[in-house]
Amino acid sequence: MIARRKIILYCTVAIILFLTSWALSEIWHDFRGEAFSGPAKQLDMPDEWKQQPVRYENWAENADLAVTLDQHLYPALLPLINKYARENNLKIAVNEGTCGISAGLLMRKAVDIAGFCCPPGGTDRYPDLTYHTLGIGSLAILVNPVNPVDDITFKQAQQIFQGKIHRWSELKTAGGRPGPDVPIISAARLHCKTRPGHWRLLLSDEDHFSARLRTVGSIQDVMFEVYNNDYAIAGFETLYMAHYRYLQGVKLKPLRIDGYSPDVQEYLVSGNYRIYHTYNLTAWTGESQKKKPVADLIDYLIRHADVIDASFGIVPSSSLRKAGWIFTGNELTGEPAIKHDGSS
């Protein structure tokens, strides 16, 4: 009799402990990944590679400078670069690509400046290469305009993409009523997996995302997933891509996270909106590069970042510095210290 009671007691305690640890694991584990990588660690490259000068490919033949930019920075910076070229009587070849193309061209030492929409990862820190942060831009979580849900918490966003929240009725609409009782279709483009930031700012690892997640390969596919499904949710793209690049005339609805909208720059600057791109430009520091106006161009672009068209949603690094973001040199390496109840 007494033994049976002991067994029951022990089992009960075990269950309680299990549940508690599980709950605690849920509470303590934030799932939010690293925003930046440490700038100190560099790749180990052969000496021949280190001594190799920058050699342009055919697309930059006879240019004074060769610049490659990812598809976010290219439309935003091209006017400024052309203006700089006119004012300084330079021929600057600009290539539109991706972070991967930028990384590849850097590896082949085929460009003077490479532009990334992500913070550098471990495989991006080549020797004699410095990173200069132009600014940051919000990454929105998008839903179809017919979806009545406007606002979710950061925790709910994580749970949606983890697959722990299955139906829209588990969320509230603006009027306080539950959302429609339909399954949530989640989609995402999990790009730049070797780099920190971007989608990792919601969930640190791709394995944290639900097995039901529809992974798509291109930005356009992200938009179409939401456009074609009334109750889809997709991330993580800029509002420029959503409203101007792919779906002109169709306004997909960005959700507010903890009440903070991605199209209000103050929320991003203050650190209250927590998912964003980090726009960086690279420059070689070798002797041969010092003859070229690389640093001058980068300095020009950073100084004039505030005149970039507001539709691109780029918050210049100067604003970030004032708001307490952490810089190492010109590279953004840390977020401002902020409690996510709104106070700093």
């Binding site: 180990d44 539109e96 690509g97 991967g100 193309i101 590896m107 790009h191 390969g217 291109s218 596919d221």
Partner: protein, 871 residues
């Protein structure tokens, strides 16, 4: 062209339709084909975009499967056991190319073939040790891996780690994915690297077996050359893109959004154009055939319809011809043409004829209506009865006058028997037989007869009828038209006339004898009138002479005709010879002084309005340059309504008279001044005399004599005052006597001041003007009587009242001087007084032929009455 016109309508329309159809087809067909091709092209482009999207989705998914496959393989228990097993021998064997183990069959560290087949088409699976040195290679195909992969640079491993990485290896695009097997501490035990070229097979596999007919390719950006394709037999690698233009539609994306590819290549989808061209051509051809058949069917249907219409037209043309025949219209010559043209010509001719006939009929109907209305007016306004009856003597028509005479309304007579309704019973039979005889045409077509009628009121009257037979076009008698006149009164008058004629004849006889007597008297009267005319002419001559002497002429103005006539003297006054000009007052006005014209016109207007008579004087500039002063006067003659119709008057040359008046006026003025001066001097002289007497009186001590001097002084002052009044008066021959009396009595009162201060003088004086000859005596009379009252009426300082009145009483003047004093002595005979004063009074009353009375009832009152002729 003429031959074409002659063709039958059906054939003509068919040929035209065919021609139009062919031309339209020739013009529109190329446009239609072009439009169809454009539509096909757009559909094709839409299809291409859709396929490109789907193909890339498939490619992205296939790429993603590489990474997934790596994760699946790394998690296999077999790999984990092998790495940890002694069979791996990695600890003891250093790495090296010659020590790398190559497998053509799935080794122990990989799943069986059946599992590997489910994975993407991985060409090589590399097993690396914890230091990333190559140990074993599985080659799915009998191909040696590229050298770079046999000695993979750590970077490659890192870049492909946990992601599918696409890069160029040995000049060819490759896909790689790697994953590490880790121990419990997270240390890498081994790394699995999957690799496959992005070759034709890869592209084919990426599109799935089901979609194996899809054409996708990897195309380099510069130059635009196909690197690999899903169907190399169709899209040969190495082919330039521009060579494929025209044969294919293609689209694609320049780079991959994975962030894990450094390849600058396009993933493009191709759609061959030719199959669609062939399809569109076959569709167009099919449609062309259908259109031909449809057109032929339409033409046949149209021809049948036209044939039917042509038949109807021919029928209609026949009917038009029949109508022409019936209407006896001359058939016009018809030009040769198709059925419609023939119909048109015939119909136009017919319609012209009908329209002209219609217009003619309308015009005739209008004229007929006019005639009818006119005839009706004639009938209604005619003073005679107009009656139409049929052969059975029923009334068909009767005019207004007839109804009035007979006293019936028209509707009461129309249709009824004339004889039964209108004739008296005793006259009917005769009338009917006469009527029958008449309409049998035995007595001729016209007849006059008189017959009695009885009016509605029962009055019998006699109507004289002029009757005429009415016949139709065939000459048959259809009725009788009668024009009747009420001869009842005329008959009576004829009888009366006969009687009167007889009477007249007897009177004529009597009268003839009287006329003979009257003739004699008349002759005498004529002689007398002749004498009078002579006298009248003489009188006119004398008048003219009198006018010439008096320079007065007479004029007459006929206002309505605006004609003016002057007597001969008027001509002379205006400076013309008699009859020299046509009398015209415009000429007269022109010769007037400008100041006189306005007055002249206003005077005329005023006279015409009846406000005042026309009379004025004006300066006139004669033709000979002299200026005359004319006086004209006129009277307006009005008609019964009071409107002015004539004006006649006289005009006189008063130039001489005006001159004389001026001279007389000047002379009178001189005399007035002289008279004034005389009165002034007389007055002054009398004042001097009065002053001398007063001076003398001052020297006299005896009161009696002083009183006498005072009395004389007052008398002289009284007369002097009159002369002073006359001097100051405008009328030097008379004065306002009442004003004079006031001044004079005041003077007397002043002269008797001691006695006068207790006596009140009461004056009631009418405003009377007296001539000098009367005023002086009256003044002296009042002076005497007033003085007497002052001296004697109030003794012992008695107070009292003296009254002096001057009144007009019809044509008499009554002067009263009285007082309420002690009165005259009872024995005083005032007509024979002993006092000088009363004697003077009596003498003066006699001088003015007046009468004096004395009343003693209350004091003393003298009443002097004299005639108003004196003033």
């Amino acid at each position: 062209m003429t031959c074409f016109r002659k063709l039958p309508l059906t054939l003509k329309m068919t040929l035209i339709t065919l021609l139009v159809g062919i031309v339209t087809w020739a013009l529109l067909d190329p446009i239609h084909r072009k439009s169809m091709k454009r539509t096909f092209g757009e559909q094709l482009k839409d299809r291409l975009e859709q396929e490109a999207y789907e193909n890339r989705m498939l490619f992205d998914g296939y790429v993603d499967r590489f990474m997934q496959s790596t994760k699946i393989l790394i998690s296999q228990r077999g790999l984990q056991d092998y790495v940890n097993s002694p069979a791996a021998k990695w600890e003891s064997l250093p790495p090296g190319k010659d020590r790398t183990i190559y497998h053509n069959e799935p080794p122990a560290w990989l799943p069986k073939s059946s599992v590997i087949r489910t994975l993407p088409d991985v060409h090589y699976i590399f097993l690396l040790d914890k230091k990333h040195s190559l140990r074993e290679v599985y080659m799915k195909y009998p191909e040696t891996p590229p050298a770079e992969l046999l000695d993979p640079v750590p970077l490659l491993i890192q870049m492909s780690h946990q992601q599918a990485f696409m890069t160029e290896i040995n000049g060819k695009p490759y896909i790689m994915a790697s994953e590490s097997l880790r121990d419990d501490h997270g240390n890498s035990l081994s790394t699995l690297l999957l690799a496959a070229p992005l070759d034709n097979q890869f592209l084919l596999e990426s599109q799935g077996v089901v979609s194996s007919n899809k054409l996708v390719a990897l195309v380099s950006i510069e130059p635009a050359v196909i690197l690999s394709s899903s169907h190399p037999e169709t899209l040969t690698p190495g082919t330039e893109l521009k060579a494929l233009q025209g044969s294919y539609l293609y689209t694609g994306k320049g780079f991959f959004d994975y962030g894990s590819s450094d390849l600058r290549i396009n993933f493009m989808t191709f759609l061959p154009v030719r199959p669609y061209d062939v399809l569109s051509e076959s569709i167009l051809k099919e449609e062309w055939v259908n259109r031909i058949i449809t057109a032929l069917m339409l033409i046949l249907s149209f021809s049948a319809l036209m044939f039917w219409i042509t038949k109807r037209v021919q029928n209609l043309t026949g009917k038009v011809r029949d109508a022409e025949v019936k209407l006896k219209i001359e058939q016009p010559p018809v030009r040769k043409g198709d059925e419609l043209e023939v119909l048109e010509q015939r119909f136009l001719a017919l319609s012209e004829e009908v329209l002209s006939s219609h217009e003619s009929i309308k015009e005739q109907a209008r004229m007929l209506r006019q005639e009818r209305d006119r005839a009706q007016n004639y009938l209604d306004t005619a003073a005679s009865i107009f009656l139409v009856t049929d052969t059975d003597h029923n009334v068909i028509l009767i005019n207004k006058r007839g109804c009035e005479i007979l006293g019936y309304r028209e509707e009461e007579l129309i249709g009824r028997g004339w004889f039964e309704t209108i004739l008296p019973a005793d006259a009917r039979e005769n009338a009917k037989s006469d009527f029958q005889e008449f309409i049998s045409n035995k007595t001729g077509s016209e007849i006059y007869l008189e017959s009695p009628v009885r009016t509605r009121k029962g009055e019998q009257r006699t109507i004289g009828w002029h009757a005429t037979l009415l016949k139709d076009e065939a000459g048959n008698i259809i009725g009788v038209l009668g024009s009747g006149e009420d001869v009842t009164d005329r008959r009576k008058a004829e009888e009366e006339l006969l009687k009167a004629h007889k009477m007249l004849e007897s009177r004529v006889k009597d009268r003839t004898s009287e006329l003979e007597k009257a003739n004699v008297i008349l002759n005498a009267e004529i002689n007398q009138r002749t004498q009078i005319e002579k006298a009248l002419r003489k009188s006119e001559h004398q008048l003219e002479k009198a006018q010439a002497i008096a320079h007065i002429g007479n004029w007459e103005w006929d206002i309505q005709s605006n004609k003016v006539s002057w007597s001969n003297e008027v001509y002379r006054i205006y400076g013309y010879r008699p009859g020299e000009i046509e009398p015209d007052y415009e000429a007269v006005k022109k010769a007037m002084h400008p100041d006189s014209i306005k007055i002249f016109l206003e005077s005329i207007d005023s006279a015409l309005r009846g406000e005042r008579p026309f009379e004025m004087e004006y300066n006139f500039f004669r033709r000979d340059g002299r200026t005359s002063i004319l006086h004209t006067k006129g009277e307006v003659i009005r008609d019964s309504a009071g409107s002015p119709v004539k004006m006649f008057g006289v005009v006189q040359d008063i130039t001489e008279r005006k001159g004389m008046e001026d001279r007389i006026r000047a002379s009178l003025k001189e005399k007035e001044v002289l008279l004034q001066e005389i009165h002034h001097r007389v007055k002054n002289n009398m004042t001097v005399i009065s002053s001398l007497l007063k001076l003398q009186a001052d020297k006299v001590t005896d009161e009696y004599y002083k009183e006498l001097f005072n009395e004389s002084t007052n008398r002289i002052k009284t007369m002097a005052l009159i002369h002073e009044k006359l001097y100051r008066s405008e009328d030097l021959a008379s004065i306002v006597f009442s004003d004079y009396l006031r001044d004079m009595m005041d003077n007397i009162m002043c002269s008797y001041e001691i006695r006068a201060h207790k006596v009140r003088l009461n004056k009631e004086l009418d405003r009377i003007t007296l001539a000098l000859d009367t005023a002086i005596p009256c003044g002296l009379i009042v002076n005497e009587l007033l003085s007497n009252s002052l001296k004697y009426a109030f003794p012992d300082s008695m107070s009292g009242e003296i009254r002096v009145t001057l009144r007009k009483n019809n044509d008499k003047v009554e002067l009263t001087v009285g007082d309420n004093g002690v009165g005259l002595p009872p024995d005083l005979d005032f007509r024979n007084p002993r006092s000088l004063g009363l004697n003077i009074v009596n003498a003066l009353v006699g001088q003015i032929r007046g009468n004096i009375e004395l009343h003693r009832e209350q004091g003393t009152e003298f009443l002097i009455t004299f005639s108003s002729d004196n003033y």
